[in-house]
Subunit: 296 residues, 2 copies
């Protein structure tokens, strides 16, 4: 029954075993997006604004914010982005950077309890990031790699997760505030990576009893029809115990899989969200016609 | 590593833990199909023929055959249908009836090792069906209900499965020739039915170590956009351990989920089937152009 509560100034999101799956919108990230990178370099947040609103409208209940562009003051950009986003939307944010100063600037600008993205099992990262998490009362994404890199062996990745959770506890951070990313690897390059990710998610859920997140599209890297494969992986991962993903809510088939998985997992009470989203057009027409008639 | 081998005169299909998911085409069944029922009553197999060819073309590697129309000689119809289908296609068949005489007539007409659909935990059914399975060296679908009906409690359904497997063993039928149907119930009517089905599938796989099958569309009964929900349930069920389904291969999104799940489960070597099915149109055009040029 682990619950990770993340909040903005006015809204709480619970990542948990008994709640609807949490979709953390991934779009605010300049990696591979030249236009967004150019804008951020020029201090222009038009694209960030549009991405935020579109992702929330599409069903994201949290937004990841990464403004990592080379040759910029990333800490200043992060503070600006966080302040802007919190004026635009009430969904909680994941503050995402590989630069500790940017993580800190984001946390200082943030109102609420953020999700810090991320810490790894690397010694230097643990000692830099965990004190920040503790100081600001945040939660943190824990990525299952350490100083030796990303192990292809899921037993090793499991032990990295355990180590991060133990180190977090040493800093006074409860396991419920650590959201583990099992690192789903591309199945095209690593045969077995898919089923291994499912096994690792299941072990993290049942043995360490933690919430989990992952970049759900990584698994299809290098394959054709990625948009056709990602929803299937995500559904299987939710079945195995995954409780959130940093992913693209603007892909309708992906969101349909998430909503369908909520129905199957019994996290959509009386299937109300599913029924609302998919009510037959005929029924809607009927209601519209009825309304018109009652006016005429 | 349980394997259930089903065969026609010239082709084997393995339902198993380490093989691609087995899609058993469900269309040859007059339930809810008035035209097919009328045709069968008149001894006309046009629709049966068309359904068989279409389902095999769409990727079914087995076909379920049910010709249960009231006021007909179902045993005679079953024998005719089986003989006809085996002249049309080499995919193995599941002989599906609630009438023991029709099961027996189907088995007698069948060339190869059939899957008999089905036996339940009801005493009378066990004693009627299992001797037929043994006599003809068939495999059998075991449905998890008994004389008390379908229990909403998955522990009870699990014990029904165990009982059927034990009784099959008493008749000399190995557990590897029993394919258990956990009975996925409609989530719209029974909250929790989806996650319970996943749990039961997982227990059947890990504790009884048997192959499983189910009518994958039952879970969405009564809900809107069933075609959008069924592939998600099926993907999650495959992740939980389901190894076959009696379902509609003519639904492209369902087959895409099955093929995607094969990729994730590492049952599609080097992702070759996925890549073949989804190769970018540009690449295909390129190859076609290349071929034309080499001729010109």
């Amino acid at each position: 029954m682990t619950q990770t509560v993340i909040s903005s100034a006015s809204r709480e999101v619970v990542i948990g075993f008994e709640t609807p799956f949490t979709v953390i919108g991934e779009r605010i990230n300049p990696t591979g997006r030249a236009l967004l990178a150019e804008e951020l370099k020029a201090g222009d947040f038009s694209c960030v604004e549009a991405d935020a609103l579109a992702q929330v409208a599409a069903g994201a209940t949290m937004l990841d914010v990464n403004v990592g562009v080379p040759l910029t003051d990333e800490a200043a950009l992060m503070a600006q982005a966080v302040t802007l986003l919190q004026s635009l939307t009430d969904v909680p944010l994941a503050i995402d950077s590989s630069v500790p100063e940017a993580l800190e600037a984001g946390l200082e600008a943030y109102r609420g309890k953020a999700l810090l993205n991320s810490v790894t099992g690397e010694e230097e990262r643990l000692e830099m990031v965990l004190p920040l998490v503790r100081k600001h009362g945040a939660a943190v994404v824990a990525i299952c790699n350490d100083d030796t890199g990303i192990s292809p062996d899921i037993d090793v990745r499991f032990e990295v997760a355990r180590k991060i959770i133990e180190r977090a506890a040493d800093h006074g951070i409860p396991a419920s505030d650590v959201v583990v990313d099992p690192l789903a690897m591309p199945v095209g390059a690593m045969p077995g990576a898919g089923v291994q990710a499912l096994e690792l998610i299941h072990r993290l859920r049942t043995e360490l009893k933690v919430n989990t997140t992952c970049g759900a599209s990584n698994v299809s890297f290098g394959l054709p029809n990625r948009a056709g494969l990602n929803p299937t992986f995500l559904a299987m991962a939710i079945g195995a115990g995954l409780t959130s993903a940093i992913t693209n809510p603007l892909e309708p088939t992906l969101m349909q899989a998430v909503r369908g998985a909520d129905v199957i997992m019994d996290h959509d009470a009386q299937c109300q969200a599913w029924i609302r989203a998919h009510r037959a057009p005929a029924a809607r027409d009927g209601r519209r016609r009825g309304r018109r008639r009652s006016r005429g």
